[in-house]
Symmetry: C2
Subunit: 237 residues, 2 copies
C-alpha cells in the first residue's frame, strides 16, 4: 500500500481498435482512487474508435504524459497493429520502468510483451491469446487476475474490473477498494455460465475460436517474431 498522502499519477493507454471495456471497466475504479490524477493517453490527442465503434477521446497525447505511478494497458484486436510500433512500445517501456505499478487487461499483456517487459513474469491474458504468453518469456498463469509483485494482469475484457479492484486495494488498501465496489454495486450475477472456455457450451466455444482464428494466427506470427528478436526459446509444439 502506498502512503495515502502520496499523490498518484494514474494513466490508461488508449488506441484505435481497443476493446472499450478493457478501458472503461477499470476507468470506473481508477477514477475513484483517492488522491490521484487519472488521465487517458493516446498516440495523438484525437478521438479513436473501439473495435465496435465507440468513440473515445484521450485527455492528452502520449508525449504529454508525466511519469506515471500506475500504468494501465488495455487490449483488443487493435493491439496487434501496435506490436511493432516503437513509438507506443517505447512509451510503454519508459512508463513501466518508472511506474511502481503496471496493470494490463486482456491482450494488453501482449503489448507489454512487445515492449519486452514480460520476461520471467507470471501473467495472464484473454483466453484466445493465453498460449502466446511464453513467446514473450512470460509464465502463463490460468487465473482471472494474476498479481506478480506490483504488476497486475487481468484475463479477458471484463476481468479488468476484478483486476482494477485488486489494484485499488494494493494502492490504497482494501477499504478503499470495498467502498468503490459498493458505489458501483459490483455484485455480479451473470445470467449464464458461459464466460470461460471451461464453462461455455462446446458448440459456442468452437464458433468463438473460429471467429478469432485469423487474428489469433496473426498474433502468433507476430509473437514468434518477437520471441526470435528477444532470443526467447519457442515453446514446444
Amino acid at each position: 500500500m502506498i502512503p495515502p498522502e502520496t499523490h498518484l499519477q494514474i494513466g490508461s493507454l488508449l488506441f484505435e481498435g481497443l476493446d472499450q471495456i478493457d478501458l472503461t471497466g477499470p476507468f470506473e475504479v481508477l477514477s475513484r482512487i483517492p488522491n490521484a490524477t487519472y488521465r487517458i493517453y493516446a498516440p495523438t490527442a484525437e478521438s479513436v474508435r473501439d473495435i465496435s465503434g465507440l468513440r473515445l477521446t484521450p485527455d492528452a497525447a502520449l508525449a504529454d504524459a508525466p511519469q506515471l505511478d500506475v500504468l494501465h494497458v488495455p487490449g483488443g484486436f487493435g493491439q496487434e497493429a501496435l506490436m511493432r510500433d516503437e513509438a507506443v512500445l517505447g512509451w510503454i517501456r519508459r512508463q513501466a520502468e518508472g511506474a511502481g505499478h503496471v496493470f494490463s487487461v486482456c491482450t494488453g499483456a501482449l503489448l507489454l510483451g512487445g515492449a519486452a517487459l514480460l520476461r520471467g513474469r507470471r501473467a495472464t491474458t484473454h483466453w484466445s491469446a493465453f498460449a502466446l504468453l511464453p513467446y514473450f518469456g512470460a509464465q502463463p498463469v490460468d487465473r482471472r487476475v494474476v498479481v506478480d509483485g506490483t504488476w497486475v494482469f487481468a484475463a479477458g475484457v471484463t476481468a479488468g474490473i476484478d483486476g482494477a479492484l485488486r489494484l485499488a486495494a494494493e494502492l490504497r488498501g482494501i477499504e478503499v477498494a470495498q467502498a468503490i465496489q459498493l458505489g458501483m454495486e459490483y455484485a455480479p450475477e451473470p445470467p449464464f455460465d458461459s464466460g470461460t472456455p471451461r464453462t461455455a457450451p462446446a458448440a459456442i466455444l468452437e464458433r468463438a475460436r473460429s471467429a478469432v482464428a485469423e487474428i489469433t494466427a496473426r498474433r502468433e506470427a507476430t509473437a514468434r517474431g518477437i520471441a526470435a528478436d528477444l532470443g526467447i526459446a519457442l515453446p514446444a509444439g
Copy 2:
C-alpha cells in the same frame, strides 16, 4: 425472442454526467447483437463528460434517431438534471412507446419514472435510489436484474452488464448471449464481497450513504414533485 431475420434498431441515451459504465458495460453486449444497428444518441451531437470526466461522443443527436426497437437508458448523478427536461423525457416517452424493449441501468430507471413510464411496473435501480421507485408508481423489486414483460431493469452501475446479457437472450436467444459472454470473458470474481448494502462492511456503507446524501435528497424532492404531478399517492413514512 425476435425472429433472427428482423433487423433491430438499438439505441442508448447518452447525457452529461452519466455514470459511464452504465453505458459502456451494456455497450459491450449490445454492440455484438447480430442483425442490429446500435447507435448512441445524446441531446446534441457534441461530446459529453461522464461524472468522472470520461469524454464520450454520441453517434447522433436525439432528433436524428429512428424509431428504436430497443431503448437503453443509463443513469448516474447527471440523470437528476434531466428529470424535468421535457425534450429528453419526451424523446424517451416516444421511443419507449414504439420500442418493443426498454432497458434501464442504475438511476436510468428514474428517467423512465420522470417520463411517466413506470406506473405499475416491477423495477429496480441503484441501491441509493431504490426507495424512490414508488414515487413513480413502480413496484420496487430488490433484485439485480428485474424483467417486467419486455422491459429489463438493472440495479446499480455494473448490474448493466448482467441486464444486457439477459436482454440479449430475450432478443436473440440464449446461445447468442452465451457467445457474447464468452467473447467478453465474463466470469466475474470480485476480490471482495462489498458490492451491495447487505454485504458491505457497516462503516463503508455508512460513508457511502453520507457521500450520496445530498444527491439522494435532491432526487427525493424531485420524485415527490413528480408523484404529485402524476397523482401518485406518496409512500408512507
